[in-house]
């Protein structure tokens, strides 16, 4: 199941400057493992020691924040787009 992942600028040095990568995974957790397999060291950036996504990082599946879904166990299907976005200020 191929998932399109949007990579934020600060992480593009891991992906050879690619802003978007395609990977196979059936859940967000699996996707994190797949990302780390393709781009070693990436998981350590995304997650804390317990494997939990860092608190200043937002992850969206098809534009929906995974905290409104099943968090890291959120299921993915072919064609889904996952976006990784560091928290930003606003107003």
């Amino acid at each position: 199941m191929t998932i399109q992942v949007l990579i934020p600028t600060p992480l593009q040095k891991f992906t050879g400057d690619q802003a978007s990568v395609a990977l196979d995974a059936s859940s967000v957790d699996e996707l994190i493992v797949a990302l780390d397999g393709a781009f070693p060291g990436l998981k350590e950036r995304l997650c804390d020691e317990q494997g939990k996504l860092r608190r200043f990082l937002n992850v969206y599946v098809n534009s929906e924040d995974i905290r409104f879904l099943e968090n890291q166990t959120t299921a993915l299907k072919a064609g889904d787009e996952v976006s990784i976005v560091p928290a930003v200020a606003g107003g």
Partner: protein, 428 residues
């Protein structure tokens, strides 16, 4: 021309979470370690050596009187931003049962009538120094107004993003400066996510994304000014609206920096925050005693503070807990009543965010969470003329009369009896 090197008082950026250092370029997250937000590092010894109460008082009547505390290298873009009135609010104080209440009125900030002019003045000055020719932002309205206006003044290209359901005044108040305006079919959090994706591929300066460490420093001036305007004293309690939570924490940082360099004596200040019930992720976390924020989907008339996923929420929460403050939420009806109350008692017409602040102020007094003896400052961050939709149904109508004295006399009598009825129901 840029100033000499010795006038630069900041040294670089640092992760607020893990302390990892970074150069002072356009970046906002700790990409090498933990993804925490970056903040500016200053040389406080240099600032202490350069500043005094007298040197600040002799400076420009704008945020740039605090230039040594702001992260720029050369000449600022000075459009008269800042040094807005701090009003002693005696009539509102009496109505609420307080003795020492002040309103910091950024609804008359320049050039676009909200506190955002502070952050944008700093962000665009820094953007120019970093070589950006196009600036952008994700906005709930006020930030778009300010970015478009100051970009126009500075001669920079501008493309800004807003949710498509904003108030007409906020949209017009951006379009008039002729930027490219993208109205995104979604809420602010979706706009923000889109902008992050745009920022990944376009080499623009996004004031609230890659310029965020510089941008957010502008809010400190709301702390500096209150200290100076209180006669170089700290207040006892502040009440401010919470959207991303950045303003709230930067007011504290402003207080801390003046203490650090010896411009004001230290004392405890309680920090209380205001949210609309329809978008209250920080207030909900506070009520539950949590130290983390669960995002929400906004649904409130207070669109300027409708951020469901507040980036600085954890820090705002921490500040309220540690300072002995409260974070509370009020309904849309209470927000409208708050707008009316401030207008009728103090002659200040604020937008929905200000109505939220006044409504929460009232609520906290009623709950005994503000001591009547405390010197309390309520921060009003935006102007009511931008969100007229919120109050059109409650302001009543003009009395239509003929150009004849008899017509006036009849209408005046009617108006007097209507007012008497209102007085009897409200009391003074």
């Amino acid at each position: 021309m840029t100033a000499t090197l010795s006038s630069v008082t900041f040294k670089g950026l640092r992760c607020k979470e893990c302390g990892h250092p970074y150069e002072a370029t356009a970046r906002h997250v700790c990409e090498d370690v933990c993804f925490g937000p970056l903040e500016v590092v200053y040389d406080y010894d240099a600032i202490r050596a350069r500043t005094s109460r007298a040197s600040i008082e002799a400076g420009p009547v704008s945020i740039w009187r605090y230039r040594d505390f702001l992260p720029i290298e050369g000449d600022p873009i000075d459009v008269g931003t800042g040094f807005t009135p701090l009003l002693r609010a005696n009539r509102l104080a009496r109505r609420l049962g307080l003795k020492h209440l002040y309103i910091k009125n950024d609804g008359v900030n320049m050039p676009t009538l909200s506190f955002k002019d502070r952050v944008v003045s700093v962000a665009l000055t820094r953007a120019r120094e970093l070589g950006f020719s196009t600036v952008s932002c994700a906005s709930t309205g006020n930030l778009a107004n300010s970015t478009a206006a100051i970009a126009a003044h500075a001669g920079m290209e501008c493309c800004v993003f807003i949710p498509s359901d904003l108030e007409a005044g906020k949209v017009l108040g951006t379009l008039i400066y002729n930027p490219t305006l993208m109205a995104v079919k979604g809420n602010y959090d979706q706009v923000n996510r889109l902008c992050c994706e745009v920022a990944n591929t376009y080499g623009w300066g996004f004031v609230n994304i890659n310029l965020r460490p510089y941008y957010s420093e502008g809010s400190k001036t709301l702390g500096f000014e209150v200290i100076e305007q209180l006669g170089w004293k700290l207040p006892d309690h502040i009440v401010a609206p919470l959207a991303s939570g950045s303003l709230f924490t930067k007011i504290r940082k402003g207080f801390d920096e003046f203490i650090k360099v010896g411009l004001v004596d230290e004392k405890p200040v309680r920090f209380s925050g205001a949210q609309a019930e329809g978008c209250s992720p920080i207030a909900q976390a506070f009520a539950a005693g949590r130290d983390f924020i669960t995002p929400v989907k906004p649904h409130t008339i207070a669109k300027s503070i409708a951020i469901g996923n507040p980036a600085d929420g954890p820090y705002a929460l921490d500040l309220a807990y540690k300072s002995g403050g409260t974070i509370a939420a009020v309904t849309d009806e209470e927000i409208v009543a708050g707008i009316q109350l401030l207008a009728e008692t103090e002659g200040i017409f604020t937008e929905t965010a200000g109505g939220t602040t006044i409504a929460v102020l009232k609520k906290l007094v009623e709950q005994g969470k503000i001591d009547p003896e405390e010197t309390t400052v309520a921060y009003i961050t935006g102007n009511g003329l931008k969100t007229t939709e919120a109050v059109t149904s409650v302001v009543g109508e003009a009395l239509s009369i003929e150009p004849q004295l008899a017509s006036f006399n009849a209408a005046w009598e009617r108006a007097q009896s209507l007012q008497r009825a209102t007085w009897e129901s409200v009391g003074v």
